[in-house]
Structures are given as C-alpha cells and as structure tokens.
C-alpha cells in the first residue's frame, strides 16, 4: 500500500479558472468544506487571457435585449446542436452572475449613466458584452480570487484558520479520480509540482473545471495548462465525452513573429470597428456570408459602417459573423493566394478610428503588437490568421445540475463541459458559461456531498491509489528496452519531442479543414505516439520537474486527441467548428446526432490497449427535441434551415 498523505474535504474542485473558482465559492457558501486544486499559482489560470467580455443580456446598451434574444443568438451560433436547456439557463442567469461580481468588487467599464457598459461581438444581435477594456478575463479571475480570499478572511475571523473552509492547493495536479466499489466518486489522487510529493484528497464530490485541450495543437492561443486533463480524468473515471469533433479556431491569432504565432487578437478589434482585408485591399468577408445568415448581415461596406452608430436601421458588417465562418473565410483567402506576407490576412483598425481611441479601447492589443511584433496598430494593419482557441466538446453533463453522466459525485463546468455551445461558441459566451455553470456545479456538488452524511461517504479503494502512484512514477523508470519488444535497445523517448509531434499531427491532419484520409493518418500516428509515450522518460528528480509533468500530461493529450480525430472522422457533414472538405454541407439529419466518446477498456488500464484499435469507442445518440416554447422564439423560415422535416412537423 502506498503511504501518501490523506485529507478529507466535502467538495474538491479541480481547476481554479473562472468556472472552478465560481464553483468553489458556491460550494463554500453552501457550507461545504471545499478544496481547490490547480496546476498554476492561484490567480494565473487561463481565464486571464479572455479579452472581449462577458455576454449577458442586461439590456444596458440596447433595451430590446433579453434572455430570449441571447438564447436565440447562442443557438444560431452553435448551429442548433447546443444542449438547448443549457443555452436557456445560460441566457437567463448570466445577468445575475455579472451583477453579483460587482458586489464582490469588480469594476467594469461604465455607460454614460453609470451602468455596466456592453460592447458588440460576433453573432450577438445587440451590444451585450460586459467588459474592462480588453482585459475582461483578468478582471473576472481577480474578482473571484479576491472573493475567495474574502471568504477565507471570514473563516479566519470565525475559526482562526484561513483555510478551514476553503483551501487552494496551488501548483498541484490531479492524475486520477478515485471511485468506490459502487462506482461513486471517493476522491482524487494528486501530486504537488514543487516537491513531487503524492497526496490523496478523500471527498464524495468532485467538480472538474480544467478548461480545454488547445495544447494538442501546434498553433494555439491556449497556455501550457490546456492539456485536456479534465476531459481525460472524466474518461478514465468512466464518464463519456460529448461531440469532441467541435474545436474552435479563432479567426484572429498573431501570425508573426513565429514565436508568438497563435497568440490571440481579441474579437473586440472587429466589434469596435476593425475590418479584415486581403492582399488586394478588399474587405473579403462580404463574399463569405453563408445562406443561413444572409438576411442578418450588411451587403455593402456603407451599410456595415453605418451599423456601428445606427444598429436599429442597418445590418452588421460580416466581419462580425460567428468565429467559424470568419476563420474559414481567412483560410480560403490565404489558400487562394490573397494572404499577407506571413500567411495571414490584414486586420486593420488604424484607418478606422483615431490613435488615441485605439489605445484606450484596445490597450493590451496595442501593447502586445508593439512589444512582440514591433507593429504599431494605430499606424498599420495587423497580420492575423486562425488559431486553435476553444473546444466545444466536453464532458457530457446534466444541464441543470452539471453532473457528469454515469459517475455519481462527478460534476463538470466551463470549457471542459460539453453541450452548451453546440458546434460553435460565440465570443463572450465563455465567461458567462463559467459563471453560470460554475455556480450550478458548486451548488449541486455541495448538496450531493451534504446529502450523504458522514457515514455515507464512499471509501477510497487502496488498489486505485497504488495504481495511480505507479502510473505517475513510470516516467522515472522508462530507461531502456522492454524485453522481447522490437524496439529493444532504444533510449527512452523525450516527452518534449513527443509533444511536438502530437501538436504537428493534430494541426496538419485534424485542423481547421478536415479530410477523411488525413484523419485516418492522424489516428495511425496517434497510435504510434501512444506506444512511444509509454516509454517517455525523464531526467532528474521529482522536485519541480517540467519534463516529468509533461510526460504525465501526454496521456491526457493523447486521449483527447484521439476523441477529436475519431469523432471528426465519423461526422460526415460540416457544422460550426467541424469542417469537412469532403462533406462541405451542413446536413439537417446530423443535427439530431450527438457523438459520445468512451474509454474502450473500462478498467482504465491504458497500458493494455491495442495501439491500432485505439483507446476510444464512439457511439451515436439522438438529441432531445427542443422544447416547443423555445422553438417558438424563431421564425419558421429560419428553423427550416436547421431542423429536419420530421422535427418541423412534430
């Protein structure tokens, strides 16, 4: 039996970004003793990189806005594949979640009458994004961090211990969810990055809020943390992932210099008036308005330009189409030879507004281009191109409670959860998603844990602890050949090399435009990498050893990448964040189909998995019909584009 430190908590939250902290705050306020585990320092989560804003129909900027309008926009953006109940709850609750942040000290930009200012964004009918310049994510994370500290100060006043009711275990990584013999969550197995020490937290409820998967792709806006940990933890615990083929490529990432390729250029640049041009100086987006959006976007530059000042009588410019549309358009322009010198297109604000306004409204973009690319965005155009940004797919959850399917005690919220955004997420809907479903996950996790009572807590299975410890230590004993295997005599694999090969594979073969033979190649390559990853070795010891951490993260990235590749191969249509060159049309029959990924070997024994057959099994299920009163929010002519004949007649 492995001797590791044990602690007992009521709720464990894995991840301390927006969703995780919101979940933790809620669980603690419900009276649950709550532990938060995060890979980075407290307050550094990937949420800080969100720039544009939080979408919430507060109607501060346009009185016609309301949750129904927000719901409609979200469903359109997701091409009607959204788990509609989530989209409904999200639209209804987002305003309360934003207002509540003000009571915790957040300072949003203001309207002239002192309310929260709201800005335009792609796919949103009205100005809807609460924001702070272009650093909204930082404001969100800092506010939640400071609220967490405020609760700790309360606990200190009452009990003399800051960490008695809510504790953050920073720079710690969870490698396994533990379960009891009935399959209920019993805790988590973790290591501390600083010391390499293992520990177990025994808890009946676990909220996964680990964010996304972007580090499996070469060009990405995501930080190192985005290795799909939560997706993999859920799979390994027996929970299915939903619609993993939908990966959002943000249309505007930096393309030069190479070392910053992929870093995000916020959509606010376009929301505030920035335009996209090709090498011929043409605003090409007017050529790329798809049929489903034809009536909603301006046909001329003049109309598009008028919209910024008079949105009630003009239609919005096509630069503000949903992200999937804009990303594909940029891709097509570059491919047609009309790209910028470094393989992107031009995004220009310099000719659209005065330098001083640019510096005030887009301070961090100004700063970022000046510092990293020697480009003054008030004087010249930026060069931008698509970058892997967000995964719409994720852990399949119950809409109301955020409970993961099939594993009692497991919850998921934020990017790691699937369903909410359908096949494509609108900008601004991520931060609101974190708050709405973070709170719900925390609430239901606390209620579930509280309902079990002290005697009813699932026991930790010691064999699982031993297995988890052995798995985590394997990279240190990866030395040399395995007897009888053909690769005898080869040195251990370098985890950094494996990671680079994985990123290249996903980028080239399962990227923004997908083709059947390439995805087949990707699956073969993933099989090869999986075998090699078992021999990933590390030097040195367990104390703050990045090579070791990466070797362990590879398991997660390989699992998630396989889910994406398999689901993408299966879905023979193009919709939102999934574009098939060989199946270019959106197919109304596919709208009803959800693809679920499960672990092929339910015992979770990855080492025994056949490299060719893979680790993931796909299954298809039919989505629940949209509730009639929600469908009634749309015009029949619009529904015809998305819903099949049978659905329309039902």
């Amino acid at each position: 039996m492995t001797q590791v430190e044990r602690q007992q908590w009521d709720v464990v939250v894995v991840g301390a970004g927006g969703a995780g902290l919101r979940a933790a705050i809620e669980a603690r306020e419900q009276g649950a003793r709550t532990a938060v585990i995060c890979k980075s320092l407290f307050g550094k989560a990937h949420t800080v990189m969100a720039e544009g804003g939080i979408a919430a129909a507060m109607a501060n900027a346009n009185e016609h806005d309301g949750w129904q309008v927000h719901f409609r926009d979200t469903m359109r953006g997701g091409k009607f594949l959204n788990q509609w109940r989530m989209a409904e709850l999200h639209a209804q609750e987002a305003p309360d979640r934003v207002w509540e942040l003000e009571t915790w000290g957040a300072l949003f930009d203001r309207t002239a009458d002192g309310r929260i200012s709201q800005r335009n964004f792609g796919g949103h009918e009205y100005p809807r994004l609460a924001h702070v310049g272009d650093r909204t994510g930082l404001e969100l994370i800092r506010t939640l961090q400071q609220k967490t500290v405020a609760l700790q100060q309360e606990d200190f006043r009452e009990r003399g211990d800051y960490e008695s009711g809510l504790k953050v275990f920073q720079e710690c990584t969870v490698t396994r969810i533990l379960k009891d013999e009935d399959g209920r969550v019993s805790g988590v197995f973790c290591y501390e990055r600083e010391s390499g020490r293992f520990f177990v937290i025994e808890a009946p409820a676990v909220v996964i809020s680990t964010g996304g998967i972007g580090k499996s792709f070469k060009v990405t806006s995501n930080s190192w943390e985005y290795t799909g940990d939560g997706h993999a933890l859920a799979l390994l615990a027996g929970a299915p992932l939903l619609n993993m083929e939908f990966v959002q490529f943000h249309p505007t990432g930096m393309v030069w210099p190479p070392s910053v390729k992929g870093i995000l250029v916020t959509e606010s640049v376009r929301g505030d008036g920035g335009v996209l041009r090709n090498s011929e100086g043409k605003r090409f987006m007017f050529d790329y308005i798809p049929d489903v959006f034809k009536e909603k976007y301006a046909e001329t530059e003049a109309e598009g330009d008028r919209w910024y000042d008079d949105p009630d009588h003009n239609r919005r410019p096509p630069e503000l189409l949903p992200r999937d549309e804009v990303a594909r358009a940029i891709n097509a322009e570059v491919k047609a030879g009309r790209g910028s010198p470094h393989g992107g297109v031009f995004l220009d604000v310099s000719t659209r507004m005065p330098a001083e306004v640019i510096r005030r409204r887009l301070p961090s973009m100004y700063h970022q281009f000046k510092e990293l690319a020697d480009v003054d965005i008030t004087a010249e155009a930026m060069e931008v191109g698509p970058t892997c940004h967000y995964v719409m797919g994720g852990i399949a959850v119950d809409s109301d409670s955020a409970a993961a399917r099939g594993v009692p005690g497991l919850y998921a919220a934020g990017e790691v959860a699937g369903g909410m955004h359908g096949s494509n997420r609108l900008g601004g809907n991520s931060l609101s998603d974190l708050l709405v479903f973070g709170r719900r996950a925390g609430l239901h996790a606390a209620q579930y844990a509280g309902g079990l009572g002290e005697g009813g807590r699932p026991a930790v299975d010691e064999d699982q602890v031993d297995a988890a410890a052995a798995e985590a230590l394997r990279p240190f004993s990866a030395e040399g050949p395995v007897e009888g295997e053909p690769d005898e005599g080869r040195p251990p694999e370098n985890p950094y090399t494996l990671h680079q090969e994985l990123q290249q594979t996903m980028n080239d073969l399962v990227g923004i435009i997908r083709r059947e033979p390439e995805m087949g190649q990707a699956l073969e390559k993933l099989g090869e990498l999986r075998v090699r990853a078992r021999r990933a070795g590390v030097e040195g010891h367990r104390q703050f050893n990045p090579g070791w951490h990466l070797a362990l993260d590879l398991r997660n990235m390989l699992l998630v990448s396989e889910c994406i590749a398999r689901a993408a191969l299966e879905r023979t249509e193009s919709r939102g964040g999934h574009t098939r060159e060989d199946w270019p049309e959106m197919d109304r029959q596919w709208r009803r189909a959800n693809l679920l990924c499960r672990l092929a070997d339910p015992t979770g024994n990855l080492a025994a998995t056949d490299p060719v057959r893979g680790q993931i099994r796909l299954s298809r299920e039919e989505t629940e019909p949209v509730r009639p009163d929600l469908l009634a929010l749309f015009e029949k002519e619009e529904l015809v584009k998305y819903l099949s004949e049978e659905e329309l007649h039902e």
Partner: protein, 256 residues
C-alpha cells in the same frame, strides 16, 4: 529569417544552493527569452524548472531577473540584446528559491490575505450599482495588475531586508489598499475600517520612500508610486492631522 547561437547563463539549483550554468543555444527572429528557456528544456535541460502560462504578458507567471533586472521572460525580446552578449537569467532575488528559476512567492499570498476585502454597500443590491467612468478610472488602473510580483521583488524595502517582510505589504498590496480606498462604492467606512490609516499602521506604507523602483519594472506600466502610493500617503497624512478626525477618534475611543 536569420538565426544565431547565443550564450546563456542560467541559475540552477535548489534550497540547498546552486550556481550559474553556461549554455549555447540557438535563437531565431522575433524570439523572447522565454522561448530560449523552452528550447533549453526541450534540447539540453529537460528538468529546468520555470514557471510560465500564457506567454503573452497577461498572467504574470514567468517573472525572473534577466541580466539582473526583474522582467517577464515572455515580454523580453532577444532583439534588445547584442548577439555576442551573454544573457544571465536568475530567479527573483527577494523570494526564496524552490528550484532553478522557480521561487516561493508565498509572501505575496500571505500579504493578500491581510488586506480586508471590498465591502459592498448595504443599501444596494446586485444590478443597482451606479458608478461614473471617471470615478472608476483610477481603481481600474490598479486592477490592470497581473500579479507578476516584479514590484515586490525590486522594492528595496524587502529586497535586501528580509526583516522588513513582516511589517511591509509591498507595492502590490499597498496599491490594493489604494484601489479599495478609491473604489466609489466601497463601504469599509461604515464598518469602522479606515483604509488610509491601516495602510500606514498595518501595511507599512511608511517604509516606502517613493524611489519609484516598482513603477519602473511594472510590465503593465501602472504608475504605482505616483497614482497609488503617494496619494495614499497624502490621504493617510490628512487623516492623521485632520482635527475633526482626531476629535472623532478621541470621542469614539472614549465611548468604548
């Protein structure tokens, strides 16, 4: 695109001690110091410990000292150095080393907890807050802080005086006090909390002798000294010498 080989000198070691280690490493156009550290990890020193997250100057994780100056490695372009210059990268000096370039920044989290949180006004519910942009501008400037702790590292009050750490919150958290004090709706007063006085009495504002080192290293260009610390000092002084405040405090004390 051109590349060259640069000389790097990186501090390696742990709590037991350590020293500078020399490396020769390839550098490409447009790269930053963090890119080079990553290349060292991938090719020569897989266990080289370093913190980083966003690599875009937004999270404040990759703080270190480059040629002795506290900086974010992700925002330090290689083009600011000459090609024959040996670049020395060392961990933040004001905090204890954990390993290589990683330091124990726990001091900052301890200080964060000592600053009482925002106090919401009791008469306003969620959604009822009204604040004018010009009234939130100042606090918003301070909220740009990415908590890289470079100001905490460079401030000479603690940089060379470990003994001051107990009594001194450092520029970042004095600025947090200023931010709350200037928040248009903070209701600390109503709870009997005078943030100006506590800045002086509990967070060590008096140690600061406005040398502006913190402002110089701030990657967000927040004017910490001019906009946060000096006004806070003035406000604290006003409180102390304001006869009405003195009288009020005296009467309140008598009432206890």
């Amino acid at each position: 695109m051109s590349s060259y080989e640069a000389g790097f000198r990186v501090w390696r070691g742990d709590t037991e001690g350590g020293g500078l280690e020399d490396f020769k490493v390839e550098v490409h156009d447009g790269e930053v110091v963090l890119d080079i550290i990553h290349r060292l990890q991938a090719t020569q020193a897989p266990d080289l410990a370093v913190r980083w997250n966003c690599k875009a100057g937004k999270c404040g994780s990759c703080s270190a000292e480059v040629n002795g100056r506290p900086r974010l490695m992700c925002m330090t372009r290689m083009s600011v150095f000459t090609r024959d210059e040996v670049i020395t990268v060392t961990p933040l000096r004001a905090f204890p080393v954990v390993r290589d370039l990683v330091t124990d920044v726990g001091f900052n989290y301890t200080k964060a907890r000592e600053v009482p949180a925002f106090v919401p006004p009791s008469d306003l519910g969620p959604g009822e807050y009204r604040m004018m942009q010009e009234d939130v501008d100042r606090s918003q400037e301070f909220r740009k802080c990415i908590e890289c702790f470079l100001c905490q590292d460079t401030c000479h009050v603690v940089r060379d005086h470990e003994e001051n750490k107990g009594a001194f919150a450092g520029p970042r958290f004095l600025m947090r006090v200023a931010e709350l004090d200037m928040h248009p709706l903070d209701a600390a007063d109503a709870e009997g909390l005078d943030r100006k006085t506590t800045a002086q009495d509990e967070h060590g504002l008096g140690y600061c002798n406005i040398t502006k080192c913190c402002t110089e290293v701030c990657p967000e260009q927040i004017r910490i000294t001019d906009n946060a610390l000096i006004p806070l000092k003035e406000r604290a002084a006003d409180r102390k010498y304001d006869p009405l405040v003195w009288l009020g405090n005296t009467i309140r004390r008598r009432g206890r």
